[in-house]
């Protein structure tokens, strides 16, 4: 029997095989799906196990555990600690603060917010970066000059500081750009803030790739066949960017979730009554001496999610482009010193 040569399989199937052979990355992907399942199960847990919502307060209530009654919040204002299954799943991780809200329910709903913001802002960033990268790399000239300069300036800013500035002033005032209108408490505000400030980290490398791809013969061939700019950009260049985009998208979710957590921790991100893992940490921080888990568990959830995404992203890069040498370095957005001279 003749051996099947590698060329007969598509590059995507080969990449998939390479990815599946990387056990570490596969395990990380499984972990990420578990976390997604965990937050998706929030309403189930809230309705059928905890019998409470993420914002329901239980300050003066008592909890029947066996023969014992326990106060959800002591008169001194200390919330109850983890009950695990002793109270039938109620207050599995204890209560969150002197408001006596169920920490487990909040953890699941907060995770929804964190993941939602991370994924949606990564989608927006990716879309914007593709458009900007294609336009700048394809048209060059003044289009490129304008886009590249704007990206350079955004890139050199202290992102967290500007995120805080924009997040806070929008939280107070809300946003109105043309038909887009957001109120101060909307979770679309942190999404908007994060997307704006992370675009350059993705658009700059994409622009570089487009610049290189435009020189390739297949682009010349397409133009010679009479393809217009749009068809060349979308039909010829974009497919060649796919592997970069997939890797960056994955890493971008991780990065954006950290960004969101930092903003929400400081009060410049998700606004109450919404909560996210970041804002839960800032509530938990006040009780660090008595109930340390309140700050540590949401932090650990962020770590697990971000770590799994970073490992998956790294594995995808290995699988999609086995030749790539610079890996983590590119993620941090530092590699090329050419960008250093503005």
């Amino acid at each position: 029997m003749e051996p099947v040569s590698a060329d007969e399989r598509g590059p995507w199937r080969l990449a998939l095989r390479r990815f599946l052979r990387n056990r570490f990355a596969v395990a990380a992907l499984a972990l990420f799906f578990l976390i997604v399942l965990f937050v998706l199960a929030a309403p189930l847990w809230a309705d059928h196990v905890a019998h409470t919502g993420p914002n329901e307060t239980h300050t003066l209530q008592k909890l029947q555990v066996g023969d014992e009654t326990r106060e959800v919040v002591t008169p001194a204002g200390i919330p109850i600690g983890p009950q695990w299954f002793e109270a039938g799943g109620k207050f599995f991780l204890g209560a969150d603060s002197r408001l006596g809200r169920d920490e487990m329910v909040r953890l699941m709903y907060g995770g929804r917010t964190s993941l939602f913001i991370g994924i949606v802002s990564a989608l927006i960033t990716t879309l914007a970066a593709i458009v900007l990268g294609l336009l700048a790399g394809y048209y060059r000239g003044w289009v490129d000059a304008v886009i590249a300069r704007v990206l350079d300036v955004l890139w050199s800013l202290p992102v967290l500081l500007f995120g805080i500035a924009l997040g806070t002033s929008l939280a107070i005032g809300g946003l109105k750009i043309g038909p887009l209108e957001l109120s101060g408490g909307s979770i679309w505000i942190p999404i908007f803030v994060i997307s704006v400030f992370t675009v350059p980290y993705m658009a700059r490398p994409l622009r570089g790739e487009v610049l290189a791809l435009k020189e390739k013969e297949f682009v010349e061939a397409a133009v010679a066949q009479g393809a217009g700019p749009l068809r060349v950009m979308i039909g010829e260049i974009l497919p060649n960017l796919a592997s970069t985009i997939i890797v960056f998208f994955t890493l971008n979710i991780a990065n954006n979730m950290l960004f969101e957590a930092a903003l929400s921790f400081l009060g410049a991100g998700v606004q109450p009554p919404n909560s996210s893992w970041g804002s839960m940490i800032s509530i938990g921080e006040e009780l660090l001496t008595t109930q340390p888990l309140l700050a540590i568990i949401p932090g650990a959830m962020i770590l697990l999610t971000v770590l799994s995404l970073n490992i998956v992203g790294d594995g995808l890069r290995d699988a999609l482009d086995p030749r790539s040498k610079v890996r983590l370095e590119a993620h941090a957005g530092i590699v090329e010193p050419e960008g250093a001279s503005v």
């Binding site: 300036v153 967290l160 500081l161 500035a165 946003l175 962020i302 770590l303 770590l307």
Partner: protein, 319 residues
């Protein structure tokens, strides 16, 4: 070299202008409400709002508003309104603490990052290599807001090894200054050690393939001399750029979160407190000064880079 510096400084001035316009847009134009009301803070009286409106000239055109804002910031007239406290003074008071935190952390991560990276490069392919790869992925994934509470809870409250929070000025009690800063330093530094060691490692492995390294070996230098004089020196170039960027990002970013966990009375804590009170003028001041600081550090780094690597300055001059 002089030409490069002049060009770079001109570039910096343009970026500073762009940054100041961006700050103006962020605070006074993009949000959808009366800017005077936003600046006044919560529970402001109509009289105060009216006076802020006049003070900042919000009835005038946008360019005029921009000029007024910049004048206020750089003449040190920016104040928070409830109560009225000059922003500049508070920022100046916080600078020593923030710089103590950032510089100390920078020294720690640079030292350990370079040390581990050097060892890993000399013994490429070993166990340390794998460990560092893991450490750097973990490093970019572990949030400050996990490290800080864990360290504080276990080392401060449980084991009582370190003093709990606060900042003691170096001029008052140097030893207390040091012990109070150890945990915050570790919190900030631990994130970067793995990453720096990997960058140094890969950069050293690249340099080791260069011909001048072969020449150095051929002329009979000892392995240690080849490594330190030729390989390490040339591998440090990317580290310089990286460090400049990260140092700026620490001062104007990570420090805010770290200071609010450890209660260090620096610029970051001032910013964090202002956010929770929804007071905009201090955030405006901190953002503008922070951004200027970062842009300035980046320019310095580029100049240092050009000094270390003639190809950069000659390339830039030829353009």
């Amino acid at each position: 070299m002089a030409r490069f510096i002049v060009r770079r400084m001109a570039g910096m001035v343009i970026v500073l202008f762009a940054v100041s316009v961006l700050v103006f847009l962020v605070f006074n134009v993009i949000p959808n409400s009366n800017p005077a009301e936003r600046l006044a803070g919560k529970n402001a009286t109509p009289v105060l709002v009216k006076s802020i409106e006049e003070e900042w000239g919000f009835d005038k055109s946008l360019p005029e508003q921009y000029v007024t804002m910049m004048k206020k910031v750089f003449n040190g007239e920016l104040t928070s309104y409830s109560p009225r406290i000059p922003v500049d003074e508070r920022i100046a008071e916080g600078v020593p603490a923030t710089l103590s935190l950032s510089i100390g952390a920078g020294i720690i991560w640079l030292f350990f990052g370079l040390l581990l990276g050097y060892i890993a490069a000399v013994r490429a392919g070993g166990k340390l290599d794998k460990f560092l790869t893991g450490l750097s992925i973990a490093g970019i994934s572990i949030p400050v807001f996990l490290i800080a509470p864990v360290l504080i809870y276990f080392l401060t409250y449980k084991l009582e090894i370190f003093p709990s929070g606060g900042y003691v000025p170096f001029s008052e009690e140097p030893w207390e200054w040091f012990t109070h800063l150890i945990l915050p330093w570790v919190t900030v530094a631990i994130l970067s050690i793995g990453f720096y060691s990997r960058v140094l490692r890969s950069s050293m492995l690249d340099v080791m393939n260069e011909e001048y390294v072969r020449t150095a070996r051929a002329k009979g230098l000892s392995e240690r001399q080849v490594m330190t004089r030729h390989v390490l020196r040339n591998s440090l170039v990317p580290i310089v750029t990286l460090f400049g960027l990260d140092f700026g990002a620490t001062v104007a970013g990570t420090a805010i979160i770290t200071e609010s966990f450890f209660n260090i009375e620096g610029v970051g804590l001032y910013a964090a407190e202002s956010i929770s009170k929804l007071e905009l003028p201090p955030i405006m001041g901190v953002t503008l000064y922070g951004a200027f600081f970062v842009v300035f550090v980046n320019a310095l780094v580029d100049i240092a880079y050009a000094y270390l690597d003639p190809r950069v300055r000659l390339g830039a001059a030829a353009r």
